[in-house]
Symmetry: C2
Subunit: 664 residues, 2 copies
């Protein structure tokens, strides 16, 4: 009972942001204004004070930021994390006895009541706090207390009080009590001995900007040679300047390790490989080594270092693929057979999705008796590549590996290297994708690829940007991947490629493009398939990026717009606006101190569409009564719009989208 009693009279409830009762960390980016709200309650009418307390990895003590009462017992405030790493934050709330007393005094004085005893009580409150107040402030408070008790007068600012007889009149005593400086000092140094505090503190992962905002480009280095000559890191380096010039920030490369030969797949996923077939990069491991090694045909580890360094000089970060599975030729098959599952005849189980068999892949058995050995080695692989300059990992199919491994491994890496980021390549059940993000993945692949209609896109983006997913799930919108060529692109031709690029780049702070997109590559392996014909997964696919009419200038323009308009670096500022046509969609992003961007897009790649955009002017800070300029950043044209409703017409053959900077 006694320990319970001591917990005081204030309750802190419903603290936001918070993911699953604090079980998982909220995500933010360094410099963000992290807005915190809570319900703070106590019995009776006494006035409260509350503060956010937060602490970054290099803070020696807790910092405080103000919380203020926003009505209905909700308190709100914010803090701005100034470094990357894991932050803790909590809330402290306490009764402000002096402020309560002061508010009552005002009411009593207004009602003309005798307040002698109240003044003496207030003086007592001040005197009780004196030992806890810095020496410099004590004289002001002491003088006030003395004056309130009717001792030597102290004058309130701009307010006198008439002295009568031997002591000051009540007016002067009240003025001393209500001196604003006293109120400020008493609030600043109020007694927190009965304070409530949210325990345990909540946690926040503070990442660098790239965790939220970036333009990704995927490239197979081996395709930078010729049709028959395997590309290398050194030939790949030659493509980097163009990729950087297009405005990309991240270069994602599939696994670079030795590839197995046993059950190697041939071109177009043939069950048997020909002698010249290069194999699938995700079938990792051969006599040349495993996950810490480089495929000899790509070069050496030193060549990889050179590649990473050259990319870095151009402002390109290299994102390496991390695929936790092995070819039958991986060194672990003999060194660590216990890390695999075995069939009754002692053979190692290959990957299956019964009745389908994937005999070129041995999945790792996370239920192995040697979990500690396995986890440690997997972590060592990540650390190995971090030591070679990798700061981003694209993790292959994390949803088929033990979830707890990811939580542990990401935490282990980020403890010393909070700048290292992880992208989850999972296109699985929605709740699994959310869980992976909660467990620590910095970014996530999404269902964007399969959201092509206006309602689908609106619903999905509303979920991503307005539900509690926004606290922990950061989307990376890929317009295509080596595994997904959506039929919208197959059939829609170049206008479809523009549409999906604009959508990805404008809706999501992070988006990605897989090589060949700029050439409108869109032939499926067979009708109805989302696989590419002559997929680069199975063969070399050098490309000629100098073909006329390709999408490179358009990509460059889109990335330039992204770089110049900070509103596009965020997700939760997304707002959809009504358009009266099924295929026309409009949305905007605004950010204080930045231009607003409004996108109007025709989702129909075949036909011109016209309609009326109904802008929520309030969201854009525009007036119903004043015309405003809309600068199309793609066409470099300026339109003058007025009021909510304005006509648009978009011909996909010419230009399927307006990307407007909103003028005034």
């Amino acid at each position: 009972m006694n320990s319970y009693i001591k917990r005081g009279r204030v309750f802190i409830e419903n603290v936001r942001p918070q993911v699953d009762c604090g079980r998982y960390r909220v995500k933010a980016v360094v410099g963000d204004d992290v807005r915190v709200t809570a319900d703070i309650l106590r019995d009776g009418p006494d006035l409260l004070q509350a503060a956010i307390r937060y602490r970054g990895p290099s803070d020696r003590r807790w910092n405080e930021a103000a919380l203020t009462h926003a009505g209905n017992d909700v308190w709100e405030g914010s803090f701005s994390p100034g470094e990357i790493g894991r932050f803790r934050y909590t809330i402290e709330a306490w009764t402000d006895h002096f402020a309560t007393w002061r508010s009552y005094l005002v009411k009593r004085v207004e009602a003309g009541q005798v307040v002698d005893l109240e003044l003496a009580e207030g003086a007592g409150l001040i005197e009780a706090r004196l030992p806890s107040v810095p020496a410099a402030h004590r004289p002001v408070l002491s003088a006030a207390a003395t004056a309130m008790r009717g001792g030597a007068a102290m004058r309130g600012e701009g307010d006198g009080g008439t002295e009568t007889g031997g002591g000051p009149a009540v007016d002067a005593r009240v003025a001393a009590a209500l001196n604003p400086e006293v109120a400020v000092l008493m609030t600043r140094h109020s007694d927190r001995s009965g304070a409530a505090r949210l325990t345990p503190a909540l946690e926040l992962t503070v990442d660098r900007e790239r965790a939220r905002f970036g333009s990704w480009y995927e490239l197979f280095p081996r395709s930078t040679g010729t049709k028959i000559k395997h590309g290398t890191f050194r030939t790949a380096v030659k493509l980097l300047p163009d990729i950087a010039r297009m405005g990309f920030d991240v270069l994602y490369i599939p696994p670079i390790h030795p590839i197995g030969v046993t059950f190697r797949k041939g071109r177009n996923n043939a069950l048997k490989a020909g002698p010249d077939d290069v194999g699938v990069p995700w079938a990792i491991g051969s006599k040349d080594g495993g996950h810490k090694d480089v495929h000899p045909s790509l070069g050496t580890l030193q060549d990889f270092d050179y590649f990473v360094a050259e990319a870095g000089k151009l402002g390109l970060e290299v994102a390496l693929d991390f695929a936790v599975n092995c070819s039958p030729d991986h060194p672990w098959v003999t060194e660590h057979p216990e890390w695999f599952s075995h069939r009754p005849d002692g053979s190692i189980k290959y990957a299956e999705n019964p009745p389908k068999k994937y005999q070129d892949i041995y999945p790792i058995n996370f239920d192995t008796q040697d979990k500690a050995g396995l986890w440690t080695e997997l972590l060592a692989i990540l650390q190995h590549w971090v030591d070679h300059g990798v700061t981003l990992f694209r993790v292959d199919n994390p949803h088929t590996k033990a979830f707890r491994f990811w939580e542990w491994a990401i935490e282990e890496i980020q403890r010393d290297r909070p700048d290292v980021l992880f992208l989850a390549e999972a296109f699985t059940r929605p709740k699994v994708m959310k869980l992976l993000a909660k467990l620590g993945f910095t970014q996530s692949y999404t269902y964007f690829t399969w959201r092509n209609h206006k309602q689908e896109l609106t619903d999905y983006l509303t979920e991503l940007s307005t539900t509690d997913m926004a606290e922990y799930f950061r989307p990376n919108f890929f317009v295509n991947t080596q595994d997904i060529l959506h039929e919208y692109l197959q059939h829609g031709g170049p206008p479809a490629f523009k549409v999906r690029l604009v959508l990805a780049a404008m809706l999501s702070p992070t988006y990605g493009v897989y090589s060949g997109y700029e050439l409108y590559e869109r032939a499926p392996r067979e009708p109805g398939s989302e696989e590419y014909l002559h997929s680069e997964k199975y063969e070399l696919r050098p490309r000629d990026f100098s073909t006329p009419g390709n999408l490179r200038p358009y990509m460059t323009r889109i990335n330039t717009i992204r770089a110049k308009h900070p509103a596009l670096t965020r997700l939760t500022n997304l707002h959809f606006h009504h358009v009266d046509k099924e295929h026309l969609m409009a949305f905007s992003k605004s950010l204080p101190g930045s231009d607003s961007i409004v996108v109007v897009i025709n989702l129909n790649p075949f036909t011109s569409e016209e309609g009326t955009v109904d802008l929520d002017l309030d969201v854009l800070g525009l007036s119903e009564h004043r015309p405003y300029e809309m600068h199309d950043l793609i066409g470099d044209t300026t339109y003058v719009w007025s009021g909510r409703r304005n006509y648009v017409r978009l011909d996909p053959q010419a230009e399927p989208a307006h990307v407007f900077r909103v003028g005034s």
Copy 2:
């Protein structure tokens, strides 16, 4: 790392019901079907099993109830608590390796694959579980395993398999593997060694039915004498048969303790009492004693015991008022001055809401240095009255006393006496009212009194019945109290009294009436006031309940309807139906195994209203194509309705409401 690894591969998330991450208890009633849902996830495609585990106060071990997969990784199930008291419940979930293996076997067999190794693997799974299976079931499993390995054949039900050569054919081995009995046994006895479990368990307060469903009647026993002669428990007993006959379950009586004389209030809240004024029952304490004593004018403690016993014989429970404050004459003022706040001159602080003063009341100081002594004595008071047969407390203004005291005291009382229930009389800020309910109050007063329009009522009831409030906050809808005579009643006359009675009794499982309602008492102290003229708080107010035309028969009818229709015992089954008029409202309650009730009511007490009710037929289990009977239980009339839309006309002077039992 090692302890983390051991936590296994299954995740349990988003468990419902749950109040504030399990910080507070969910509420239910004995015999309820408590529906539990959770997101249950693991990596990969393996099949899961999950169960609710729950444990009541007299259970020696945990019980289990099934959870089944409802799609999208959501699992659902329910359990039914069979006793009152505190229950714990949690969820356990694990991988079902045999079911996973079996589902793959089916696919492999369908695809015509060779399954020898798979059959051996399955046999191994069975054999590994044999030691954990009750002896009676082992032969079936052993035989299956043997057959699967190609030993002595075991026949699947209705399926043979051709024996060839020395052993059974694959068909027979497969049939043995797919034997449904084997599947059932392997699931029932599956390996839970890697099970995930929600910890700590969640908690559930299981109350008796009266916690949710009941009809309250408030009576001042002192008004059961004459205008000048103080009523007693023995005169009050004479009114009990009529109250019971009206169908009420609970008799709430204001404080019965000695009343202070210092600063005693006079009639109509006069600052000075006359010599004959009886004082306010909430100004507790005099030379005759304090909270454990009975006002001498009401009788003795033995008289109170007699009153409680007589009420009990009539099926009426007595709810006693618990008001934690004192008159200046309370024994504690001299015995425990440290339990009060003091002014600088040493005098005890009276109650104030500056600039208003309430000098007849000394509030308790919950910040006293002797918290333990104070809390212990307050608990002893509750225990004292429990020992005298009180099983319900109506707690006066709990929001002005330390919240933690309530949490502690309710828990202390209910540990031994879980049948004792607490009603919070708080009409304060919404989040404070919610917190009191979370902290343990069984029931709560509400804002119902001030919700008189259709939209207000719909919004408020939607909040109460569909948000997470429904898990912990049980409304008690009082149509009036000794403190609140709403202007709707003041102006609306008898029809208004019927309207509010029907709304309270049909919308909320628990509702209450304060004495005099049946006589349409509606004179305010002054225009604009919600106080009664000649309020019973300050004077004796004997009543003649035999006046013709009073509301007693109507109340009796309403309570009879409530008693006969179990759908009215619940809140979360409330459903509003559209009516095309502002003053006409329609709602229904349904419960499996009970008739549905549909209420159509005219909220305008002055004028007839007609309109079209648009019933959600699905909710009522009715067909668009078949007429159905609507039996009006107030007017004893049957209407035949058909389809969704039906005409109604309600004249408030005749009958402002239809309360229909839905026929078929």
